[in-house]
Amino acid sequence: MEKSPSNNNMRWVMGIVVAVALFVLPFVLARLGRTGEYWIWVTTEMIIMALFAMSLNLILGFGGMVSFGHAAFFGAGAYTVALLMKKAGWPIYLALPAAPVVAAITAVVIGWFCVRRLGLYFAILTLAFSQLLYMVIFQWYTFTGGDDGIHGIPRPEFLTAINYYLLCLILFLICFVIMRMIVNSSFGLSIRTIRENLERAKFIGINVRRYQLINFTIAGAFAGLAGGLLTLLNRFAQTEFLHWSKSAEPILASLVGGMYSLVGPVIGSTVLMFLKIILQQLHRSMVEMWAIVLGLILLVVVLFAPGGMVELYERVFGKSES
């Protein structure tokens, strides 16, 4: 993973340029009238879904744990914000931080069982638990509103579309920096060691299960924050947030973008959402075809470029990692 200093500096410059551009973007979009407003909303959603994808990649790409139930924590965060703000009347500055906390608690409980299983069994167990949570929220009409979801969640006045975009962006950048620190810490290296060789990791004294559980919980917390943010954007929470097809979204984003880097899932998620909207704009009937297009993209990636776009980029430009 050694990087030449100039290469590293380039990355920092690139990162700062992109960040500044993202801060300026909503003010430019705001001048475009109604389409601008629409695009502010879309980019906010892109940022949130990128955070969701990035959170999954902590366990998927860096940890090598295929979770098919990550939506459980996304949904836990979403419903936490929805219930606290709508039913308990909590203010946003308490309800939003509660989302990652509740999601993390959910992740500890579910993860405690799941990390006892490896590979395929881990994947199916995460799926089973997330479906369990989905069914509970689906059936518990009096508390969660069942398949109607929870609507009309109040959002404070000062959070206009632009301000909310900025809030999400700032939180996203903070999370990005935190995840970067996690991934590059000794903890992150241990997690990668486990991914590469579980037996050897055990042998050199890494407590595999505990490390995986901590990683699972951290990922769950970030997913919960993303869920809470999306609830506030839409002003509703619905059972679909926990459905297993929602768990697949960040996996697809990670795969398309590239699993073995932090920005890969961000790129993947954004590219996929962008593509979907472009198709919608091209022709109304294309909305119906979106799943087919997405499926075909996925097939191509699985069969021909399992490393995703980041790897393709590195292959084309000869910047091979490791």
Partner: protein, 294 residues
């Protein structure tokens, strides 16, 4: 609860279970030989149901004759679809990471489900039952819906057929050998890739049969594939991945379980399969019938 009511519920639950078995056994069989969990199995089942609907409309269905034609024609159609899928796609990911295999089949879910929507639209459909299966039969003074009894009878026939195929024919011993020792089997001169293709076709055939039976049982819509595949996961996990006998037991447990839990718990009974699935995975991940991972 009177004894009559109990029997009524039991028959109902068992027939639900049998239907589930027909679909889930295909999933289990395919996993056993190919080591791929096929998310698209539910989509293939749904295609079977919709093809049955179209053929039935074409034949002005509702007669016994047309229903038999559906039972004979639709499953092979699915087997042919399966042939093309296996040869063109599945074959490329054997032995690769689980993630890539799962995502390949998930890509197929996205494509196939959307194709169904494009071709058949979102309206609920069904297939008219032939007159002979439409009413109710008297069993011990109980009026039971004939169709449920019919499904209840088809299930064991399929189970017996699979058992006979797997344990009493040469093809079956080859399939079982492919589950346990694929390399040795290849070294013995058996064309393993053909074994895999035909097993996959058999799995799709079962999905198709389940589709036909469902289309005449209840309304079918775009959600049934996604719904059923998760139920099948539960069945296969409970019984043990790759075990057909386990799939039978798992299906019956889930079918009767949901039916009986509906009495005290109402809609909450639907939580039961997932709770049981999680419990089994935690306590005994190889399932009730499976063997611990090699």
């Amino acid at each position: 609860m009177t004894i009559e009511y109990f029997i009524f519920m039991l028959i109902n639950g068992l027939s639900q279970g049998m239907l589930l078995f027909i679909i889930a056994s295909g999933l289990s069989l395919v996993f056993g030989v190919l080591r791929v969990i096929n998310f698209a199995h539910g989509s293939l089942y749904m295609i079977g149901a919709f093809v049955a609907f179209s053929l039935s409309t074409l034949m002005m269905g509702g007669t016994l004759y047309s229903f038999l034609v559906l039972l004979l024609v639709v499953p092979p159609i699915l087997a042919v679809i399966g042939f093309f899928l296996e040869v063109s796609l599945f074959r490329r990911v054997y032995g690769q990471e689980h993630l890539l295999q799962l995502l390949l089949t998930y890509a197929l879910v996205l494509i196939l489900d959307d194709l169904v929507r494009v071709v058949w639209g979102g309206d609920p459909r069904n297939v008219a039952r032939p007159e002979i299966l439409a009413g109710s039969v008297d069993v011990l003074g109980l009026a039971l819906p004939t169709y449920n009894v019919f499904v209840l009878a088809v299930g064991p026939i399929i189970a017996l057929g699979l058992w006979f195929l797997l344990y009493r024919t040469r093809a079956g011993s080859v399939i079982r050998a492919a589950v346990s020792y694929p390399d040795t089997l290849g070294a013995l001169g058996v064309n393993v890739s053909w074994v895999m293709t035909s097993t996959f076709m058999l799995g799709c055939w079962l999905a198709g049969l389940g589709g036909v039976l469902t289309a005449a049982l209840a309304n079918i819509d775009l959600g049934i594939g996604m719904e059923k595949i998760i139920e099948c996961f539960a069945v296969v996990v409970i019984g043990g991945l790759g075990s057909v006998g386990g799939a039978l037991l798992g299906s019956l447990i889930i079918g009767t379980g949901i039916t009986f839990f509906q009495l005290p718990f109402g809609r909450w009974a639907l939580v039961f399969p997932y709770a049981l699935m999680a419990l089994i995975l935690v306590l005994r991940p190889w399932g009730l019938f499976g063997k611990p991972e090699r």
